[in-house]
């Protein structure tokens, strides 16, 4: 069976397994953990589209995550709009900010670490803006009022949130699958592999990169919108802090960069390890970050193509 067909079957199987997960996890702490894991998997999926498939490493995906979160929060608190409108507006805003940031960077041919630095700078600029303008609530943050109702994107139990997040994650996964199977996806990978050769084959490199960062920004904003609804509180550091950007890129790198399931696997491994670290150290703050750093070094040294790459190699050895 060819790999394309395996993926077509694997996607619904994985989504069904995730849908059944609450049966095993109960409705308490573990389900909450699974929900945030999916949230970061969605953010990682967004990063992977641009960084993994397109080879454009962003160090500022908090920019899109934070924009999605703030747009939905501000629309609710200041304008009284409902969060489902916020979800759409936040996603569009994430895509628009992606297009803006991408147009500026790619027009001037920024690549590699220069592109990474520019995205980091953009995220920092937005963090500072969110701190200083009045309508975001400034440094004190913004609180979304508690009004539990599905029409208000607030659920009475954890399972409600879990399934809402699962749908958003499914969107990111299916978008990635669609990209993989499309001409745009083939062009995106060609641009990653060799820009000169790609241009000679008729590929408009600027347009392809711009499309990728727009799509990536919109998907990352989805996870930001969910964050705002799940925790009902935001401040500039939570939304635009570099910690979010690091999470966005660690999961795909650990799981398998430029692969369909890499971000999900990476997010699960990272969250599980973070949990183990919490238990071992009685919740010493920051130790999970040290552990992620160690994991990153190990992966980069021994598994440059991540966990998915390792599974692939083991599979071939046994075949």
């Amino acid at each position: 069976m060819n790999p394309d067909r395996i993926k077509l079957i694997a996607v619904p199987v994985v989504l069904a397994a995730l849908a059944a997960a609450p049966l095993a996890l109960g409705t308490g702490y573990w389900l909450g953990l699974a929900t945030t894991t999916l949230m970061f998997a969605c953010l990682a999926q967004a990063w992977n589209l641009l960084g993994g498939y397109g080879g454009q490493f962003s160090y500022g995906h908090a920019l899109f995550f934070g924009t999605g979160a703030y747009v939905t929060a501000v629309l609710q608190v200041r304008l009284g709009l409902d969060p489902w409108t916020g979800l759409i507006a936040g996603t569009i805003a994430g895509g628009a900010i992606g297009a803006f940031c991408g147009a500026l960077s790619f027009r001037y041919g920024l690549k590699g670490s220069y592109f990474a630095l520019v995205t980091l700078a953009f995220a920092e600029v937005f963090r500072i803006l969110a701190t200083s303008v009045p309508f975001t609530g400034g440094g004190a943050g913004i609180l979304i009022p508690l009004k539990v109702s599905p029409a208000n994107f607030q659920f009475a139990d954890k399972a409600g949130f879990y399934y809402a997040m699962l749908i958003l994650f499914a969107v990111s996964l299916i978008v990635t699958l669609a990209v993989e199977r499309s001409r745009f996806g083939a062009y995106l990978v060609a641009v990653r592999e060799n820009e000169a050769a790609a241009a000679a084959l008729g590929i408009d490199i600027f347009r392809v990169k711009l499309g990728a960062i727009t799509l990536s920004g919109a998907l990352a904003a989805l996870s930001g919108v969910f964050y705002a609804q799940f925790f009902l509180y935001l401040d500039p550091h939570i939304a635009y802090g570099s910690g979010v950007s690091v999470e966005a890129l660690l999961a795909p790198i650990i799981g398998g960069i430029g692969t369909l399931f890499g971000p999900l696997i990476g997010a699960i491994v990272m969250r599980a390890l973070g949990e183990v670290a919490n238990v071992w150290t009685d919740g010493a703050p920051g130790l999970n970050l040290a552990l992620f750093g160690l994991l990153l070094i190990i992966v980069l040294r021994f598994l440059p193509d991540g966990i998915v790459g390792l599974i692939g190699r083991l599979g071939r050895r046994h075949a």
Binding site: R183, A186, V189, E193, N194, A196, A197, A198, A199, G202
Partner: protein, 248 residues
């Protein structure tokens, strides 16, 4: 079909191409030869849109193409290969060729099928699922050719596709290039393998220090003193000329 008129390219203080002009007739195999550093690859890059000319005009099928970007030139119907091969190393041979085929095929399945067809033309049908990174030099050169062909060009620019190949491989690729021409594609190639140039090309331009110093049929050029001088130096050219006077 292709017309290059007084094209120059300056890199800072270096005039790499200096008022070069050439014409390629539709349906022919034309050659561009010259010693190392003559400006062949620079001229190729300008035709392909990879670098803009400093001065001069380039037209293809009656339309100006100088100043267009690489991908726009490709859309007009010009394919190119790179002297230093540029495979998409992380992809399979089939996927590499499919990127070119996508120019005319939106659907992935169609592009992959077209890639398999093109692979047959260049003798890579058995290598379709190999990673491009694992190919030999000869394989990479063929892959360059296949990818460019997959865009269905009307004019194909081949930049030293035989460099680094052994005589058997050169013989094979000459056959492939003839086949491409017979299918209706015009070919302009640069090459150092003289035997191949002489047997393939109907018309040759000789570039030296950025200028076209001679043009014509291959048999006429080998006796042209300017050409001999460019390759072997003035003394050799003089000796050959003296020798031919003796003989006559």
């Amino acid at each position: 079909m292709l017309e290059v008129a007084n094209v120059s390219k300056r890199f800072g203080g270096l005039l790499a191409v200096d008022g070069a002009s050439l014409k390629v007739a539709e349906g022919s195999i034309a050659g561009l030869i010259g010693p190392n550093g003559a400006g062949k690859t620079t001229l190729f890059s300008m035709i392909a849109g990879a670098v803009p000319p400093t001065a001069g005009e380039i037209s293809f099928a009656g339309q100006r193409i100088d100043g267009l970007k690489s991908h726009e030139v490709c859309h007009r119907g010009i394919g190119r290969t790179f002297q230093i091969t540029q495979p998409f190393a992380g992809l399979s041979v089939r996927e590499n060729i499919a990127v070119g085929a996508h120019l005319h095929h939106r659907r992935r399945a169609d592009a992959l099928a077209a890639a398999a067809e093109v692979a047959k033309l260049v003798g890579m049908a058995g290598l379709l699922d190999r990673p491009a990174a694992s190919l030999t030099v000869a394989g990479r050169k063929r892959l360059e050719l296949a990818r460019a062909l997959a865009t269905r060009p009307r004019l194909l620019l081949l930049d030293e596709v035989m460099a680094g190949l052994n005589p058997t491989e050169i013989g094979e690729i000459i056959g492939v290039i003839r086949g491409i021409r017979d299918s209706g594609v015009t070919v302009l190639l640069t090459e150092h393998v003289m035997q191949a140039v002489m047997s393939l090309c109907e018309h040759i331009h000789v570039l030296n220090q950025g200028r076209v110093i001679a043009a014509g049929a291959p048999s006429l050029l080998v006796t042209d003193p300017k050409v001999v001088e460019a390759y072997l130096g003035r003394a050799a050219a003089g000796r050959i000329e003296a020798g031919s006077r003796h003989a006559s």
